[in-house]
């Protein structure tokens, strides 16, 4: 008798639960995402020259590395511009000739590549390569000099996207 009462109670509970799903309505909706493409560029390391006055051969620089992170698939271009004065509208990938106004040595700068395609957080590395031809005397009153006080030692890297 007790078992019969228990089964009856369970059946009644199940029937009461089904009574709440009398109908169903659904509605799809859109998720709108507006993504603004962007690029960031790290500050390039210094482009470093070590030059001996009147040396026969040319000298290439070290350093000048930087990384560009852009929205995936976004194409971008790189450019160099002499000095740090806006507007930064150069599209050239080289600076053909700069004469440092302290050590009076002339050099050129060139980008390792002029364009790229964004790859998100991975980023792409580039290098600013410097070249200094041989046979330059330079100006230096002591055994060694540097150009830390030069007013034209800073140039500008531009990323357009």
């Amino acid at each position: 008798m007790k078992r019969i009462l228990t089964a009856t109670a369970i059946a009644a509970a199940l029937a009461a639960g089904n009574a709440q799903a009398a109908g169903q309505a659904t509605s799809g909706f859109n998720v709108t995402v507006n993504l603004t493409s962007a690029c960031t560029v790290t500050s390039p390391t210094d482009v470093v020259f070590a030059y001996t006055s009147l040396q026969a051969g040319g000298s290439t620089s070290s350093g000048g590395t930087f990384t560009v992170n852009c929205t995936t698939s976004l194409p971008y271009t790189l450019a160099l511009q002499a000095g740090t004065t806006a507007p930064f509208n150069s599209v050239a990938t080289t600076i053909p000739s700069i004469t440092d106004n302290v050590v009076q040595l002339t050099y050129s700068l060139a980008l390792s590549a002029g364009s790229g395609v964004g790859n998100g957080l991975t980023g792409t590395g580039f290098t600013i390569n410097g070249n200094m031809i041989g046979g330059q005397a330079g100006t230096c009153a002591t055994a060694t000099c540097d150009n830390l006080t030069s007013t034209n030692r800073r140039q500008t890297l531009i990323v357009n996207y």
């Binding site: 690029c39 040595l105 050099y107 060694t144 890297l157």
Partner: protein, 165 residues
């Protein structure tokens, strides 16, 4: 008629818009160029390190190079290299001991052939000294170039090389 007038303008405007840069933005960073300039022959140069003058020696003068590291040694081979390029090597006569004393049998060899004539001119006893290959311990070299003004005769400004053991 108006539309005909506007048509070229509109076309030109469209062309300008098409030709305009399509950049959505830009980013820029400044980069510094660091230059270290060294003088030739300095620590950054290559080649044989010049023998620096020794301040403790009272007889030393600017422009004269000294090497006394092998003084009073027999069978020594000494090489003196100067910043300005003057060079002399001193070695024993082949097959004979290097006496290393005043009056010993030395041989002087100039490194630059064009200087040989200068040496030989000096070796013709201009001041009463008998200078010659392998017989002297002191040699005067003369710079025959740049003799331009009074008192600038080459014999008036010898570059003196003193070899002493």
């Amino acid at each position: 008629m108006r539309s005909a007038t506007f048509a070229p303008v509109l076309t030109a405007l469209m062309a300008l818009l098409t030709g305009a840069p399509s950049w959505a933005g830009s980013a820029d960073r400044s980069v510094s160029v660091s230059i270290t300039l060294s003088q030739p022959g300095g620590s950054g140069g290559s080649g044989v390190t010049p023998v620096p003058p020794q301040p403790s020696q009272p007889s030393q003068r600017a422009g004269v190079c000294y090497s006394r590291s092998l003084s009073e040694q027999t069978r020594a081979s000494v090489q003196v290299v100067c910043d300005s390029g003057q060079f002399v090597s001193i070695e024993a006569v082949p097959g004979q001991p290097f006496l290393g004393v005043h009056g010993g049998a030395f041989r002087y060899a100039m490194s630059i052939d064009r200087d040989r004539s200068v040496y030989e001119a000096a070796a013709k006893d201009p001041f009463g000294w008998r200078t010659g290959w392998g017989t002297v311990t002191m040699l005067r070299l003369y710079d025959v170039q740049h003799a331009g003004g009074p008192g600038d005769f080459w014999a008036d400004r010898p570059l003196e090389l003193l070899v002493s053991f």
